[in-house]
């Protein structure tokens, strides 16, 4: 079965790639993922906050230096010591040496600030593409939705200017007019969209009157949201699309491809079952396509998007009516 696909201009043997996750921190896991046939890997994100934090650490270490007659410093000065962002760049270099598959770096931030120039450094370090993970929470009452969208568009434009790497934008699902916004991003130079970011959901610790952070792994119930938006965007834009979140089985992958995805990112299922699970999903995908006598993956790609599916209204309000009605029937 020909599973080949094109994601961000990268020719991939199949659409299954390792999404941004801690897997890339461990070379053994990375090699296992490559052995399992991963088409590409996305590095975990270099966070804007991390860059900030490393600067703060740098300041904190220096803050006590040259202050006291008996000691100019209070920590050793190892020759090789480098702070976070540079360690990240080093990790790209090492990954590129360690594996033959494309390495996609990831930058995660929310402001149009200095951190964006890391795009160039990431390119210099040898990454094959860049995923810009835009994480904005619209908490500022002074900002209109247009302000926020424009901010992201500017960010993309700036990153695209900084680097010649193909840039994908990973979005959250919470945009008022995602289709229009996607077009703006495309115009700004984005070559692909990743749908969707999964927020780290804050929780409340009532005992200590504090906010706790929790991360839950995804499951297949999160897929439909991706399917809908893939289907709505597919065919209407020339940029490539990827799904992230909710793909756990070969059948999930089939649906995702049919909705229009050029690439399918796996994270939670690999964290739960190990990198070898990617081979299982690939096998299931192949088998399904073979069983259903498809000639290639491309044949199925976008077959169920808005413009080609038999009942396009179902991706719009119709879908909403159907589910509600179905639910009501169940209640009865």
């Amino acid at each position: 079965m020909d599973l080949s696909t094109t994601w961000l201009g990268l020719e991939l043997p199949h659409p299954l790639i390792v999404g941004a996750s801690p897997i890339v921190d461990d070379f053994d896991l990375v090699r296992r993922a490559e052995d399992a046939g991963a088409a590409a890997i996305v590095m975990h994100s270099l966070f804007e906050e991390q860059i900030e934090l490393e600067n703060i650490t740098h300041d904190a270490i220096g803050a006590h230096g040259n202050s006291f007659a008996e000691a100019a410093t209070f920590l050793p000065k190892p020759h090789e010591f480098v702070l976070g962002p540079d360690a990240y760049l080093e990790q790209i270099r090492k990954l590129k040496k360690a594996v033959a598959i494309p390495v996609i770096a990831s930058l995660n931030g929310a402001t149009n600030a200095g951190w964006l120039h890391y795009a160039k450094l990431i390119e210099d370090a040898g990454a094959d593409a860049l995923e810009l993970n835009v994480y904005t929470v619209g908490h500022d009452p002074e900002k209109t939705s247009m302000d926020i969208e424009q901010g992201v568009v500017d960010m993309v434009r700036r990153v695209v200017r900084e680097t010649s790497l193909p840039v994908a934008v990973k979005l959250s699902p919470q945009w008022t007019s995602l289709t229009h916004f996607a077009r703006e991003l495309e115009a700004a130079g984005a070559r692909g969209l990743v749908l969707f970011n999964r927020f780290y959901q804050p929780d409340i610790d009532p005992e200590h009157l504090d906010v706790a952070m929790r991360l839950h792994l995804s499951d297949s119930t999160e897929l439909p949201l991706r399917l809908r938006w893939l289907a709505l965007l597919s065919g209407r834009l020339s940029l490539s699309l990827a799904a992230s979140g909710g793909v756990h089985t070969g059948l999930d992958a089939v649906k995702t491809v049919m909705a229009g995805a050029h690439a399918v990112q796996l994270v939670s299922s690999l964290l739960a079952h190990g990198p070898e699970h990617l081979a299982v999903v690939r096998e299931q995908l192949t088998k399904w396509l073979e069983d259903h006598e498809y000639q290639s993956l491309r044949q199925a790609q976008g077959s169920m998007n808005l413009s080609r599916c038999p009942r396009p209204e179902m991706y719009e309000r119709g879908n909403y009516i159907k589910i509600l009605q179905g639910y009501t029937r169940m209640m009865l």
Binding site: I51, E54, N55, I56, T57, H58, D59, A60, I61, G62, A63, H64, G65, N66, S67, F68, A69, E70, A71, A72, T73, F74, L75, P76, K77, P78, H79, E80, F81, V82, L83, G84, P85, D86, A87, G114, W115, H117, Y118, L121, L209, D210
Partner: protein
């Protein structure tokens, strides 16, 4: 090793780069100011740099200098080329082995940054008292006067020792040379190798102990042979001077830098000559040149080879015209006819037969880095020209007691305006010194100018003020003294304008740069009159910058260093502006390039933005204000504080005459409260409506700057406006009022109190009972409130329930120390003074706790209203356990004396009173109070008894009140250098309490590893991460069985800490408390120190326990685990928050993971041992029966 020949380095590095390359084994131990030499060696070894012989030298930290001495002795005997570094007390610990190494004619070089030996006080600064104590060891002694000489003569020492077989002590002045940054022409490997005779190296190896060709050394000899055998080495000493001379000649041919055993400089027909050693020689030479240019005939003999002293070389170099010599010693030898160099010169002239034609005078200068300036040199020459020059004089001080000091002469301008001199006043935290070091590097490396940098720090570890002295000039800068006239003055903190006379040393027409939030149009009016007057009178060119704003805008935080550096280059004219800016940018790239591109980028942006915010001030023709600089201490301060402390605080301590000082080093307590430092930009503000009155804020405050009181409401009469008070919630003080009060001018702003505060506003949990707010608007009102708060009577001690909450109602008698903001040690010391302060003696090992405890100008230990408080002393680093034990022995002896006398006098003072005094129960505060009453009654009775015994008993009566002796120090003391003594004290029956403030590193000297360093942490001398488990000091102490042992961490369980302190005090024998102390050397913001303490306990690396032998005696397990016995989280959760651990991850992730796994295993192993011990019941033997129960 770097082959770069021009390096901008200090004297320590200049010497170390020779020693490292010439050696195979370096045994080291940290001590100021020599620590950096060992640290350089350790860093280079960690990087894998090779020595001249192609191997990476083994750098081994030892447990003390005595240990280092033993290790190098052994290495030498087994054929290695070895060297070491030390100073001061450390050098004294080398002495026994120095006799051995010399006695066995072993080539070896000990590099010493000469430092004051502690006498009436410790001093970290420079003089020759340490090296002079080594004169009898048989070491050759070679003195350097500058960083360049420290490099060159280090090479000569290594070369000469190989040929002479006499070991060398190569020394240079601590701080003045060891820490002066200069342009140093360094030897290439080839050059250095050519200095070291390969045959001599081979011969040294040939003498190595080896079972293949065994010999025996270290025999014991008897009266029949020892003497002759000792004389057998004479020939080596006789040849040594000529060997050194020939090595110097060889060195001169190689490098063009020529040295002699004694260098003469000055008029060939001089009649007056100064003989001097060390950096002072540079000053003397420059001054002699200046005087000779004005018609004088004076000269200077610089002594390089002090031992073996060559009379011939000395007399040969003296001009025949010499009539008078002044010999200057940078040391004091009380009781001697004169100081050592003076006596040597007198003897040399006598032996040479020329004593009759040359008069010799001796004088002391420069003790403890006291300034030695051209004006002082001039006064010495002036005095030598007098009819009867003074002998045994001092210079640089005013001696109004024994009148030995020479009068000051006018300062000559020895630079003749050819040198650019700049002064910078900054805070340690603002990066001023770092920026200036960078400036020196830029100019020194990239221009032909010579550079000199020297940095002066105040004695505080938080909010320290730094003064940078930078000189640039076309010729080598022979000026090892502080700047006396500045072409440029930079004041990097606006607050200083109201505190110091920063313009005192500005030359007329100099440039003055001020960092200020005020704009150029109004800034002049905001300055105090004194400063305005200086600016007008001296016609200064006045520039301002709002560096804080630029730093904030460019993401630089509090670091204004790059911004101020840019300003300096922009307006000083040292280099063309555009060229200078480019060079800073290049240097930023070089300095931070490896650390992180973001850091580089921010600095570059800051540079670009700076010039937009730099403005010249239009200075009016006259002063515009009548506002004067406020006094540094309150007029209410006691006389001593006004006369002495305030002068020191103003940075004018040099002006204090001898009569101002107690001759035995005794110093008044409780003076820290008069120094209002105002270093916090934000302070905590108390919301009484939310507060749950837990008192944890007061507990964790490292500086006793936030306090609590419970008091009667009538005490509120006269309270200033805004003084907060609520009803107290506890039962022990019914209907009392309660206040939490901050000392606004003493708080360091560390936020430890805010982080620990558990009381959140239920409707708005972001708001706590303590929130930080800007200090400036609160300062005046809170000052008044704090003053009022102090007037409120303390709660009666006997009514206080001694849990954690109650303990904070006890008055702290340790306050406002100079410890770091967020210090993890001082809360324990403060608690100690709260619990036992009025009957407490502290023996304090040298280290952080002795520095913030006793580093002048101010003293943090204080007294209560009765005038009682901790009696504190510091002896040495290594002997503290013994020192404290001695205190206990004295108390026991005095108590025995008092008891005997009381028994004798019982019939006359009353048998009941006598019995009550002798049998008093003093196990609680009421008992102690009652005993104090009895002592008062006893004194009353004794007044009527007119016998010697009664007088003696009056003197001893206070000993009836129980005293508690605490031996306080860090882990460097307890685990390493003082462990032998500590162990011995534990093995005694005496009632002493040991408090180990365990930071896991030598904090005071800069974070070197100790045996307490946790597995996996990076520390100096363990850069790659420590792979050996932390020593279990508690377990060792437990092994005796009679010792009370506790491991505590107040951030995890403060009540356990309080209990342990009380139980230790109550325990009749020795006790030891090992206290987790977070530290800046751990590499995180210490406001989270208590969080880290909790994590350390919960992950099992620091279980809290108490081992009470009295419990064991009842058949119960002596040990009880209070927290952390079963780890609740992984060690990694703790380590990931601290740079000392994460540094290992950044450099070697695999090693990091392995070490973390080991640390986890180790935590489980320890907690398992403790668990089993906590279940251990030992059968008890019934007294007399021989049976067990």
């Amino acid at each position: 090793m770097s082959e770069k020949t021009i390096q901008i380095i200090d004297g320590n590095e200049a010497a170390a780069i020779v020693a490292y390359r010439a050696s195979e084994v370096l045994a080291i131990y940290p001590i100021t100011p020599s620590s950096a030499m060992g640290e350089f060696a350790d860093e280079w070894a960690a990087e894998g740099r090779r020595n001249l012989y192609g191997t990476v030298p083994i750098v081994q930290e030892m447990q003390s200098e005595a240990g280092a001495a033993g290790a190098v002795h052994g290495a030498l005997q087994a054929g290695a080329l070895a060297a070491s570094f030390t100073a001061s007390q450390g050098l004294l610990l080398y002495i026994p082995n120095m006799f051995k190494i010399a006695g066995e004619l072993t080539p070896f070089v000990l590099h010493v940054s000469a430092r004051t030996v502690a006498t009436h006080a410790l001093s970290i600064f420079g003089d020759h008292s340490d090296v002079m104590a080594c004169r009898t060891t048989g070491f050759a002694m070679l003195a350097s006067s500058s960083p360049q000489e420290a490099h060159d003569l280090a090479a000569v020492a290594h070369a000469a020792t190989l040929r002479a077989r006499v070991p060398f002590l190569h020394f240079f002045d601590g701080f003045r040379t060891s820490h002066e940054i200069a342009r140093v022409q360094c030897l290439t490997n080839e050059e250095l190798l050519s200095c070291l005779d390969a045959e001599c190296v081979a011969a040294h190896r040939g003498r190595a102990l080896t079972p293949d060709k065994p010999v025996l050394r270290g025999t014991a000899q008897n009266p029949d042979t020892f003497f002759q055998a000792r004389e057998a080495a004479n020939g080596y000493y006789q040849k040594c001077p000529s060997i050194v001379e020939s090595e110097m000649v060889k060195f001169g041919k190689l490098t063009g830098r020529n040295y002699k055993l004694f260098d003469y400089h000055g008029a060939p027909d001089a009649d007056r000559v100064i003989v001097i050693m060390g950096s002072g020689a540079e000053t003397a030479r420059a001054t002699a040149d200046w005087l000779n240019a004005r018609g004088a005939r004076v000269g200077v003999v610089t002594v390089h080879l002090y031992r073996p002293f060559s009379i011939a070389h000395f007399t040969n170099i003296l001009p025949n015209t010499t009539k008078r010599i002044s010999v200057l010693d940078r040391t004091k030898e009380p009781g001697a006819i004169g100081e050592p160099l003076y006596l040597d010169i007198v003897a040399a002239l006598a032996e040479a037969g020329i004593a009759a034609r040359i008069e010799v005078r001796g004088g002391r200068y420069g003790l403890s880095s006291k300034e030695f300036t051209p004006a002082m040199v001039r006064s010495i020459y002036n005095d030598l020209a007098e009819k009867n020059p003074r002998n045994h004089f001092t210079v640089g001080i005013v001696d109004d007691v024994t009148h030995l000091s020479l009068p000051a002469a006018d300062a000559p301008d020895v630079f003749d305006n050819k040198v650019f001199q700049s002064l910078f006043y900054g805070l340690g935290s603002d990066g001023t010194v770092g920026a200036n070091k960078n400036t020196i590097k830029i100019i020194g490396e990239q221009t032909s100018l010579h550079v000199q940098g020297y940095f002066v720090y105040d004695s505080k570890k938080s909010g320290a003020i730094t003064v940078s002295h930078l000189r640039f000039g076309p010729e080598p800068l022979r000026a090892p003294y502080l700047i006396q006239e500045a072409d440029f003055v930079g004041c990097h903190q606006f607050e200083f304008t109201d505190r110091f006379d920063v313009l005192e040393l500005a030359k007329p027409g100099a440039v003055f740069l001020l960092n200020t939030p005020y704009d150029a149009a109004r800034i002049f009016d905001d300055l105090p009159l004194e400063m305005q007057q200086s600016i007008v009178d001296k016609r200064l060119k006045f520039w301002v910058i709002d560096a804080v704003k630029v730093a904030r805008d460019t993401g630089m935080g509090a670091r204004i260093n790059t911004i101020m550096q840019t300003c300096f280059f922009a307006i000083s004219g040292v280099l063309p502006r555009a060229e200078a800016i480019l060079k800073i940018k290049q240097s930023i790239e070089k300095t931070y390039g490896k650390k992180g591109a973001e850091v580089v980028k921010r600095n570059q942006e800051a540079i670009d933005r700076t010039l937009d915010y730099l403005f010249e001030v239009n200075v009016p023709t006259r002063a515009t204000t009548s506002r004067r600089r406020p006094p540094l201490v309150s007029p209410n301060a006691p006389d001593f504080v006004q006369r002495v402390t305030a002068v020191m605080l103003a940075g004018k301590g040099d002006l204090l005459p001898v009569s101002a000082f107690p001759p035995d080093g005794t110093w008044p307590v409780g003076t820290a409260k008069w120094e209002k430092r105002n270093i916090a930009s934000e302070i905590p503000v108390w919301d009484s409506s939310i507060c749950i009155q837990c008192n944890k804020c007061a507990m964790v405050c490292p500086h006793a700057a936030i306090r609590v009181k419970a008091y009667d409401s009538e005490c509120l009469a006269g309270a200033p406006e805004g003084f907060k008070s609520v009803l107290y919630r506890g039962n022990e003080f019914p209907e009392a009022n309660y206040t939490v009060q901050v000392a606004p001018e003493d708080c360091t702003g560390c936020q430890a109190c805010v982080v620990i505060c558990p009381a959140k506003d239920k409707a708005n949990p972001r708001h706590k009972a303590l929130d930080m707010a800007p200090q400036r608007p609160l300062r005046d009102a809170e000052r008044e409130r704090f003053d009022f708060f102090l007037q409120i009577p303390e709660a009666p001690r006997e009514n206080i329930k001694l849990d954690i909450k109650g303990a904070q109602f006890l008055e702290p008698l340790f306050e406002f120390s100079g410890a770091c903001g967020g210090c993890g040690e001082t809360p324990y010391i403060k608690l100690l003074t709260q619990l036992f302060g009025d009957r407490l003696l502290i023996a304090n090992a040298t280290g952080c706790s002795s520095i913030y405890g006793g580093n002048l100008p101010t003293t943090p230990y204080t007294t209560n209203r009765d005038g009682r408080g901790p009696a504190w002393s510091n002896s040495l680093f290594e002997d503290n356990a013994e020192f404290g034990l001695g205190m206990r022995l004295a108390l026991e002896s005095r108590y025995a004396d008092a008891t005997n006398l009381l028994k004798q006098l019982a019939p006359r003072v009353g048998d009941d009173l006598a019995r009550a005094l002798l049998e008093a129960d003093q196990t609680n505060e009421s008992g102690v109070a009652a005993q104090r009453e009895r002592v008062l009654a006893l004194r009353g009775s004794l007044r009527a008894i007119h016998t010697n015994e009664a007088r003696r008993l009056e003197g001893a009566a206070d000993h009836f009140v129980k005293k508690t002796v605490w031996l306080v120090g860090g882990d460097g003391w307890a685990y390493d250098i003082g462990f032998g003594g500590l162990d011995h004290v534990l093995a005694s029956p005496w009632n002493v309490n040991i408090l180990v403030l365990d930071t896991g590193v030598y904090s005071n000297t800069g974070g070197q590893q100790s045996k307490a360093t946790p597995l996996g942490a990076a520390a100096k001398f363990a850069t790659a991460g420590k792979s050996i488990s932390k020593k279990d000091l508690g377990l060792i102490a437990m092994s005796y069985g009679h010792v009370y042992v506790a491991q505590v961490a107040y951030g995890a369980k403060d009540i356990q800490t309080v209990k342990a302190f009380q139980e230790a005090d109550a325990h009749a024998g020795p006790s030891i408390i090992i206290a987790y102390s977070h530290c800046i050397a751990h590499g995180y913001d210490l406001m989270y120190g208590t969080d880290q303490q909790r994590l350390a306990v919960e992950c099992g690396i620091w279980p809290l326990y108490r081992v009470d032998p009295s419990r064991g005696a009842t058949g119960e397990p002596a040990m009880q685990i209070d927290m952390g016995g079963t780890p609740k989280r992984s060690v990694k959760e703790y380590t990931m928050n601290e740079t000392r651990f994460r540094m290992v991850e950044k450099t070697d992730p695999k090693r990091f993971e392995n070490l973390q796994m080991e640390a986890q295993r180790d935590a489980l192993r320890r907690t398992e041992i403790y668990r089993q011990l906590a279940e251990l019941r030992v059968q008890q033997i019934k007294a007399g029966s021989g049976t067990t129960s």
